[in-house]
């Protein structure tokens, strides 16, 4: 019986699948005691030291520090009887064992004195011999064959069996068979097969499992199946209300759709209700001639060093808001019950419509950025948002927000404050309109700004001054820059 024992990474915290080797506390050749700390492993839950399961000498370490190891994978081999002379062939220079060889080792009676069926002993189905309770299997074989099945079916598609050299006698012909291919037809009409996390995912994404054909073992529906279905073209969405003739005057539930409130929709709803019914909103409007500013943008685009930069009207609006906020710091503040927190930094939020719904990522400390840096930051923010990769950190901590409703072709709006912020500017579409310019009515590029603010902090005077400053900048950015900076 083998005296070399392999220790598999256990599930250190109720359902974890992997851990990262932070540091080895022993090295090959070290003599170790029972329960001596041998390795520090970090999981999703905690960084912990693992004590040695056996006393002896370290024969091999299978994974270097910094690697992430799946639960059930051997991480160290320990010679439990180093005084008994050399091992038949050294395991110290063995490569990390393959999955097939691991299966062979674990099914083998590696624990010596332990009886089959007991923990630490061989277990049917290629079960890991040393893990929690039943222990996860390391083989891909899903179950023992049903009685009456032809043995040949078990033996098909055998994976190569790699015996472990150090333990020559303990590698019986253990087969690692892939998940049996299952005829999907067999499941038609039967219950839908899907694991609970997949069911949860489907529920979250609004996918009806009954409409899917599973590609997993036994025809079960996999995570990928659900994701594929969820990302299918929206044409499949049954939201469009079918036009029906006047004769079909039916207003029942069959002509209503119930859309579950969740995810971004739920969060938006909560935030907007909270803000709308706690902060007393005031909204003011200002229509300005931005012809000059648009020309300035064109000139900016023409400069060589700005050649590759995305320059949009939003950039100028952002700059206008930042400069105006510097002149009126109270606008960039938070109502905190018995005090007002006025912030010296501006984390400039940009409301963005994405596939996931409305999100408001912000440019951190935007007031410190040069125009060029601001342009890059906005480009980056929009690209990240469109790719659906905006992180929670990007969305938290906003202090002042712009919502660019102009992109939808509307003039302006009365935006609702993001919770914790005191002002939000709506930026409408820029279009040619008749405008009195130098005493004559001329077609000019005009836009309307809408500013909502929290009247607990900002009175009409301050709000108006701030909005006026934003408007002044957009009317004549060069003069405003000269005057204010």
């Amino acid at each position: 019986m083998s005296r070399i024992k392999r220790f598999n990474l256990p599930d250190l915290g109720e359902g974890l699948t992997e851990g990262e080797i932070l540091a080895w506390l022993v090295k090959v050749g070290d003599t170790i005691e029972l329960n001596q700390p041998i390795v520090e492993v970090e999981t999703a839950k905690a960084a912990v030291e693992i004590p040695a399961k056996w006393a002896g000498q370290v024969q091999a370490i299978f994974h270097p520090e910094g690697t992430t190891v799946e639960v059930g994978t051997p991480i160290i081999a320990i010679d439990t009887d180093p005084g008994a002379g050399p091992v038949e062939s050294s395991t110290a220079d063995l490569p990390a064992p393959s999955a097939a060889s691991l299966a062979a080792v674990e099914v083998a009676p590696a624990e010596g004195a332990v009886e089959p069926g007991l923990i630490g002993g061989p277990a049917p189905g290629g079960r890991t011999a040393v893990l929690v309770g039943y222990g996860p299997r390391t083989t891909t074989a899903k179950r023992r064959p049903r009685k009456g099945a032809t043995p040949a079916s078990v033996q098909t598609d055998l994976a190569p069996v790699v015996p472990v050299q150090a333990i020559p006698a303990t590698a019986p012909a253990v087969a690692v068979s892939p998940a049996p291919a299952v005829n999907g037809d067999a499941r038609v009409g039967g219950p839908v097969l899907a694991k609970p996390p997949v069911r949860k995912l489907a529920k979250d994404l609004g996918v009806d499992l009954r409409t899917l054909t599973g590609s997993g073992p036994l025809g079960s529906i996999t995570r990928e199946d659900v994701q594929r279905a969820a990302s299918a073209p929206a044409a499949a969405e049954p939201l469009a209300v079918t036009a029906t003739g006047p004769s079909a005057a039916n207003f029942g539930a069959d002509r209503e759709q119930r859309v579950p409130v969740k995810g971004v929709r739920k969060l938006t709803a909560e935030n907007m209700s909270r803000s709308a019914f706690t902060a007393p909103h005031v909204t003011e409007f200002l229509t300005v001639d931005v012809t000059r500013a648009m020309k300035a943008l064109d000139r900016l685009r023409g400069r060589r060093e700005w050649r590759d930069v995305r320059v949009s009207p939003l950039l100028l609006v952002a700059k206008a808001v930042l400069l105006a906020a510097k002149r009126h710091p109270m606008v960039n503040s938070t109502w905190a019950g018995d005090e007002i927190v006025v912030k010296e930094y501006v984390n400039l939020g940009i409301a963005a419509a994405t596939e996931r719904g409305l999100i408001v990522p912000n440019v951190k400390d935007a007031g410190r950025l040069t125009l060029r840096e601001l342009a890059d930051a906005l480009t980056d923010l929009v690209r990240t948002a469109k790719a659906g990769k905006t992180s929670p950190a990007d969305m938290s901590g906003g202090t002042l927000t712009i919502t660019n409703v102009g992109v939808f072709g509307v003039d302006t709006g009365t935006p609702i404050l993001p919770p914790g912020e005191s002002a939000i500017l709506a930026f409408g579409t820029v279009r040619e309109q008749p405008w009195v310019h130098k005493g004559k009515v001329k077609p000019r590029l005009v836009t309307t700004l809408g500013l909502s603010f929290d009247h607990r902090i900002i009175d009409g005077e301050l709000g108006s001054k701030f909005l006026r400053d934003v408007g002044d900048f957009l009317t004549d950015p060069e003069a405003a820059l000269l005057a204010w900076t």
Binding site: F7, N8, P10, D11, L12, G13, E14, N35, K45, A46, A47, V48, E49, I50, P51, K53, V114, G117, L118, I119, G120, A123, P124, V130, L131, V132, G133, Y134, G135, R143, R144, P145, R146, K147, A149
Partner: protein, 391 residues
Amino acid sequence: MAKGDPGASTRGRRAAPRSRKAVTGDPELVQLLTPAGERIDSVTGPDGTEYRVDFTDEEYRGLYRDLVIVRKLDAEATALQRQGELGLWASLLGQEAAQVGSGRALRAQDMAFPTYREHGVLYCRGIDPIMPLGLFRGVDQGGWDPNEFKFNMYTIVIGAQTLHATGYAMGVTMDGRTGGENGEAVIAYFGDGATSQGDVNESFVWASVFNAPLVFFCQNNQYAISEPLERQTRVPLYRRAAGFGFPGIRVDGNDVLATYAVTRHALDNARNGQGPTLIEAYTYRMGAHTTSDDPTRYRIASEVEAWQAKDPIARMKAFLERAKIADEGFFADVDEQARREAIDLRERVLAMPDPKPVTMFDHVYPNGSPLLDEQRAQFNKYFDSFEGSAH
């Protein structure tokens, strides 16, 4: 282990005993053994009760032995979890004195309702320490007979056992089993986090109004998993009892002697029809909440070091040495016994058989159920359809 009664004997004989009066309403705790191992002869509590213990040398040594063995077995269980042999373990490290002190204060007829961390009390009740390891290995539901050992099953739901204990204690009164030396008292264990639970507050109300023979034993280990005490309460926990109409007292939970004295007194009050008491055993969880927790994420090392200096075993050892109650040979003997018991525990855990799947139908109903019998039969049939099945 038979112990002497608190307040029933002469002054302590050793280590320059001194007296001290606890200031009424002060969060100061009842302490009979300082962190340095100095014995305090007696302490007068806020209500005038004098707390003291007078143990024989053998009894002092017995308490020390309990503390060391309980800690060693707990450490072994933690190691077994790290080695993949237990699914989870809730360590009691640091709370040994609170558990041994209160556990040894129980009389044979007293009933205890534990949380999932009361391994020390379980040990004092004479239950095989392997029992909770089966539970945390997932091979059984606990395995001891609560009626035989007067120690209920571990309760995982936070605070739920206080309601069970209150109902049980009300039953004790209705059965007329209170009164006198042989009266039955009940003790409910819970932590500081549980005091925020509705269950615990409800049980305070019921126990108070029905004058239940119950001791609420709160081990305040300073953290509700990661939430520190200051974010759980604005007043010291023991003072909450006043609002419910029964006495509350804070004891040094790292002092096995004070914990014993205070618990024994409260239990005797309960068994004599004096109603409930809340004991706040002020202690510290030196380890993680469970093996799935990483305490370094929410508390600083210096705090742990400060509590290290108040270690319950170190102070008991210092006292035994100073008072010449025990010598090096004794300490070595205790360590060796603890080591042997730990190895024994390990070997028995490794030898625990996996439960047969069909046993999940056992113990659901005391007298069976037709529906369940049918399910069992179907399950057996299903299992038999596999080759090499033995269930």
